[in-house]
């Protein structure tokens, strides 16, 4: 049984909603939304599988990457560099640079998930953009855990299945942009970001990070502009709460 299906008492801090029906309904709603996100995001794995084979990887290499690397942007970074004729190991460095953000996601999820042993290894492997984004947009820790596991496991299954299908069908879907999949990924990131833009600090960080990444795109290898955009968040998080920082101090 997957951890996301385990029944747990809803623990809230004071603002307790004790009605078991509404708790169950909320969990169902989170699960349904997670499945939707997981299927939508996971299906893009078909694009990865197809592009990987088109860029010179074998089908087995494409499938192994999705199973064990399992972080989309990094996977695309490696096949992008290899496809453009770059050295495979320099592609690895770019891909790892892009994967650093998952460490921050893990940092964010650790207190909420509170996992040990094998379950911690499983949680780590599905700690990616979407599972974290769904989790941190939930109002309670219980729903956050539900969202994390449901989203992460659904994406894992769909992403790997789709990778295999895409690699098999590489000749037919060599260009995912024909059916708009390239825009769908950007829209998915935005839709995940949107509910988090609740304070002016957060909106500023999002806007400046996007601008910085765009400004750096022409001058740096693919992957690094996104990574360096983290500097905006770090800078915004640095100042200790002071008298004139009325907003974004207790809850940024």
């Amino acid at each position: 049984m997957t951890p996301c299906l385990r029944r747990r008492r809803l623990v809230t801090d004071g603002t307790d909603d004790a009605d078991p029906h509404s708790v169950a309904a909320e969990r169902r709603a989170v699960r349904t939304r997670s499945f939707g996100i997981g299927i939508a995001v996971g299906s893009y794995g078909a694009g990865f599988g197809a592009l990987a084979v088109a860029n010179g990887l074998s089908m087995v290499q494409a499938v192994v990457m999705s199973l064990f690397v399992f972080t989309g942007a990094s996977q695309f970074a490696l096949i992008g560099v290899v496809g453009a004729g770059g050295a495979a190991l320099s592609g690895t460095v770019a891909a790892l640079a892009l994967g650093v953000r998952n460490a921050f996601y893990g940092l964010r999820m650790a207190p909420t998930l509170n996992v040990r042993g094998l379950r911690r290894l499983a949680a780590a492997q599905i700690t990616i953009d979407e599972s974290t984004a769904v989790a941190i947009s939930q109002p309670t820790p219980d729903l956050a855990r539900q969202g994390f596991w449901s989203t992460g496991l659904t994406i894992f299954v769909c992403w790997n299945t789709a990778t295999l299908i895409g690699a098999l069908a590489a000749d037919q879907i060599s260009d995912p942009s024909v059916i708009g999949l390239d825009a769908a990924v950007g829209a998915a990131f935005l839709a995940l970001l949107w509910p988090q833009l609740t304070t002016r600090t957060r909106q500023l960080v999002a806007g400046l990070s996007a601008l910085l990444a765009l400004a750096l795109t022409p001058v740096l290898p693919p992957g690094l502009p996104v990574l360096l955009a983290a500097a905006v968040g770090i800078t915004a998080a640095w100042p200790e709460p002071g008298g004139h920082h009325t907003e974004g101090t207790r809850d940024v």
Binding site: N102, L107, A110, A191, I234, A236
Partner: protein
């Protein structure tokens, strides 16, 4: 070493490194998490990265910036999000809009 073997090495190193990065967030000592500065960073950095990923995914093309049908998909997504559309309506709609615009201009 052959190119194929080097590619395998690159994939294995990436797999190990990517997992180590993911796991590192879970195994850092608890006191690190208690620092308010770290808490704020852990909230704000993913927000910045998601915004950067959105921007680069829509406007980036290798090392150049372009405005192409993906931007139409993003514009649709913004409107759909303002109207509180469900996630799938946002994402699938953005794909459809981008594909239609691409057919019209291409």
């Amino acid at each position: 070493m052959s190119d194929a073997a080097l590619l395998w090495v690159a994939i294995v190193v990436l797999a190990i490194g990517a997992f180590a990065l993911k796991l590192s967030g879970y195994v850092v000592p608890g006191w690190v998490l208690e620092k308010p500065r770290v808490r704020r960073a852990a909230t704000l950095i993913p927000i910045g990265l998601l915004a950067a990923l959105t921007a680069v995914q829509i406007f980036g093309d290798g090392k150049s910036l372009v405005i192409d049908p993906r931007a139409a998909g993003l514009a649709y997504a913004v409107i759909a999000l303002i109207l509180r559309a469900p996630f799938l309506v946002v994402v699938v709609g953005a794909a459809v809009v981008a594909a239609v615009v691409r057919q019209l201009v291409g």
